[in-house]
């Protein structure tokens, strides 16, 4: 049952073959069995989960069920959840119980989806391996010596290990897509502004976007239907008509132009990943698609641009964690300045501090023009490259990450090496474009390989169509890690 798609689970719930409580219990049992080794969850509260599931059962019995009612979901610990601990993977918020629900949480509650708990993540979403979490690293279900990617590593690992049928993630520079790739699941980062950021703890506001993580494109489409929509509480939320993201899933791919950015197949790409992506292109050709070579010339600047802009915004966004009103406060201090310094020195981990320092530096007097403004200009150029590319193709395809999962500790001492893992995912965030990752093979170590699609603005339905057709023709997404069942 834990391998089932969301539509299968919905059908079983509708047919009363299983109750929401029973379904939640299936996953809670797997969490109890597997989470100690994987560490995908920071907070699990079976009583709360079962209470919510009982509520869903009432709705189902009353004939009020929506397409996802009764199906449990795990939430990244970056979303504020009324009455649940919301830590953002940090000591700073290790005692913080949110007094309100994020819009994304509200929407899933409204859809009738019980929460399975809060998933582990890199501290304040800063990391690509889930090793920066104050609550310990998450292990990759395919091989526990390997990282699951990050920052939504807990979300990716819990779905890959079938501890949850679906999870929410957030993606600032690849934090949904890269862990999805490294754990063999499907994840989608929507167009910036499609999903409300209200209640999602900000890392880099102009880049952050929440999205679904699940076992297939079809499941992601269903989840996206529940997540999206204008929210007056988020000024960057887009006011547009609701879409049904499942509407184009079954469309044939004949005539589809798939753009292959030459820069994404260049130096630095692991051979096995390259081969798997090539095979995926061949598969899509069989389905009627035409590959088109394109260029995203400025994408090589994406990492330096990102590591100016994201830390700049983060340095300001994280200023509210000052020990004054909530969260961690240093126990001993001499005066106000000392309280600030000790609280933040003790409450934040090394990577978060590194980025706050970088951010404060690039915004400081005398450096702003050279770094922040310059980076904004290049950001524009990167977006322009995509606009140009979409004149000749419908969707862009490439690897999600340059390699497969790496070993725990392997890159944690070398931040720049770690940052390079997001080489292919960051450009979409800088441009505000939707992107997704789906499994397209395994390397010789048995670790999953991720295929990335990047679409034009609001072309989620098109990307999901391509991914779904690919998943109908292949079964990479159906593989489950062995030894966990």
């Amino acid at each position: 049952m834990s391998d089932a798609s969301l539509s299968t689970l919905a059908a079983q719930l509708a047919a009363k073959q299983v109750s929401s409580r029973e379904l939640a219990q299936v996953y809670l049992d797997r969490i109890a069995a597997l989470n100690p080794a994987i560490n995908a969850f920071i907070t699990v509260d079976p009583d709360k989960t079962l209470l919510e599931a009982a509520g869903a059962d009432v709705r189902i019995a009353a004939g009020n069920a929506g397409p996802l009612t009764g199906i449990p979901v795990a939430h990244k610990d970056i979303f504020c959840t009324d009455g649940w601990l919301t830590t953002c993977g940090s000591k700073m918020l290790s005692n913080f119980v949110a007094p309100y629900d994020a819009t994304v949480i509200e929407r899933f509650k409204a859809a009738g989806m019980p929460s399975l708990g809060k998933t582990n993540m890199d501290e304040f979403a800063m990391g690509s391996s889930n090793e920066t979490s104050y609550f310990g690293a998450v292990k990759n279900p395919w091989n526990l010596a390997y990282v699951p990617g990050g920052s939504s590593g807990g979300a990716a690992a819990c779905v890959a290990a079938r501890m949850a049928p679906a999870a929410t993630g957030t993606d600032t520079g690849g934090s949904i897509r890269q862990p999805a790739a490294l754990t063999g699941i499907t994840g989608l980062k929507p167009t910036y502004g499609l999903v409300s950021r209200y209640g999602m703890i900000a890392f880099a506001s102009s880049l952050d976007q929440a999205g679904p993580m699940a076992l297939s494109a079809e499941d992601c489409a269903l989840l996206l239907n529940a997540m999206t929509g204008f929210d007056p509480r988020d000024s960057t939320s887009l006011e547009r008509e609701k879409e049904d993201y499942t509407r184009d899933l079954e469309k044939p791919l004949a005539g589809l132009r798939v753009g292959l950015p030459r820069e994404f197949f260049a130096e630095g790409l692991n051979n096995e990943v390259a081969a798997a992506v090539d095979a995926a292109v061949a598969e899509l050709k069989k389905l009627g698609a035409t590959p088109v070579e394109i260029s995203l010339a400025n994408s090589k600047l994406a990492i330096p641009v990102y590591y100016v802009l994201a830390p700049a915004e983060a340095s300001s966004n994280l200023s509210r964690f000052d020990g004054v009103r909530y969260g961690y406060r240093a126990p001993d201090y001499a005066n106000l300045d000392d309280m600030y310094c000790k609280t933040r020195a003790q409450g934040f981990g090394a990577e978060v501090k590194r980025r706050i320092l970088i951010g404060a530096y690039v915004l400081s007097h005398g450096y702003y023009d050279a770094y922040y403004l310059q980076a904004q200009k290049i950001r524009r150029l990167i977006a322009d490259d995509f606009s140009e590319a979409f004149k000749t193709c419908d969707v862009i395809l490439g690897p999600t990450a340059p390699g497969t999962a790496f070993k725990l500790g392997e890159k944690s001492d070398d931040p720049v090496e770690m940052y390079l893992n997001d080489l292919y995912t960051i450009p979409a965030n800088l441009a505000g474009l939707p992107g997704m990752s789906l499994p397209c093979g395994f390397d010789t170590k048995g670790l999953p390989i991720g295929l990335q699609l990047v679409g034009n603005y609001f072309s989620e339905a098109k990307m999901l169509n391509v991914a779904h057709q690919y998943q109908r023709a292949t079964d990479w997404h159906a593989h489950a890690p062995e030894g966990l069942k």
Binding site: F79, C80, T86, C88, L93, F96, A98, P99, Y100, A102, R197, Y198, G199, M200, I201, A202, A204, S205, S206, P232, R233, D234, S235, T236, A312, E313, S315, S316, L318, S319, R320, F321, D322, V324, R325, Y326, L336, Y340, A360, L363, S364, H365, Y368, Y372
Partner: protein, 475 residues
Amino acid sequence: MKWETVIGLEVHTQLATKSKIFSGSSTAFGAAPNTQASAVDIALPGVLPVLNRGAVECAIKFGLAIGANLNRVNVFDRKNYFYPDLPKGYQISQLAKPIVEGGALKIVVEGEEKTVNLTRAHMEEDAGKSLHEDFHGMTGIDLNRAGTPLLEIVSEPEMRSSAEAVAYARALHTLVTWIGICDGNMQEGSFRVDANVSVRPVGQAEFGTRREIKNLNSFKFLQQAIDYEVRWQIETLEDGGRIEQATVLFDPDTGETRMMRSKEDAHDYRYFPDPDLLPVKLDEDWIERVRAALPELPAAMQARFQAEYGVSAYDAAVLTGSRALADYFETAARACGQGKLAANWVMGELSAALNKAELGIAASPVSAAQLGALIARIQDGTLSGKLAKQVFEGLWEGAGEVDAIIEARGLKQMSDSGELEKIVDEVLAANQKSVEEFRAGKDKAFNALVGQVMKASRGKANPAQVNDLLKARLQ
């Protein structure tokens, strides 16, 4: 050496919106601490600001009222610094692209009209309050004020004396209350003034180094603080010292300014555009709707009062000191058709009575219509100026309408010439000595006789008529 003072003012006006600039919390003053602080105001993790368009509308009104350029696209920036009453660790403000740029305000100082140019005005949020008393070595934080909308109005450094600075601050105060964007309550901090003050030798082109006096909350303190600061700067320079750029505070108890922080301690605020807020776009329709709803402005009204009612420029400026006063004057002037007389009464008898009773014009016990009716009775000869003052007292006490008071108290001027002639004859008979003195060439004696007649008539005689009668009898 002769010194010239250079002053520029930065004024924080609290905008009169019902809710805060980025949240739905109330902006009402005086509530129990932290009862008007929402999740957004206390900066819980995950919350986001949403702009209150009412605050933008206030800024548009102001821009139109001073003839400024309204930036059709203006941008909110984050000003980053740590302080316990600043919940987000940054203040949302506008730096590079403020909503208002330019504009000017006319002031009158010692009869001289002067134009002060404005640099800019931008929207921002207020911080909360730190309460250092009553917490035994700790600090209390009240976030009710956090997020209250402010318009910071910055002038060019064009004022040359504390009197000009006060005149500018008053004119600005009049304008923002006039157009209804600020309640103007200085005690509650709705209108706070920072003064940038420097001195330079007369004739020198470059400005001297300035010091900024923070948070002056009365016109009196503004004047005192600038006067002290100017003296201090001149003395320092004349003693061979240097002025260091600094922020200072004014202590009303000592009348002195003291250093708050030097330039070295100045923050690097690391401004950058707030990614949580979109650029603010002002479309022409919106601007035109606001323009159409603007009341007649003080400057236009002053010109009209001079033309329509024949009052002097000075009187027109005084009468437009507030919208309520201007409306009062105009109602009274229209009721009696006597603009100059109405101006004299409003600025004279009425203002004196209001000042004495510590009342504002809105609380005047004598209505504008009543004052108009009173003036009309002076004009038609029913009342002398002296009698009119007695009627005014009756109006003030609430004794009824003008004619009723005249009737009830018998204050009508004597119009029966037979009665007056009788009094005049009696007075002449009783004051033969004065009559002889007058005839001997002492003019003063005539005035004494007039006084006697007025006294005998208990003030009700028409003085002009008395003059005429006496002259006729004595010839």
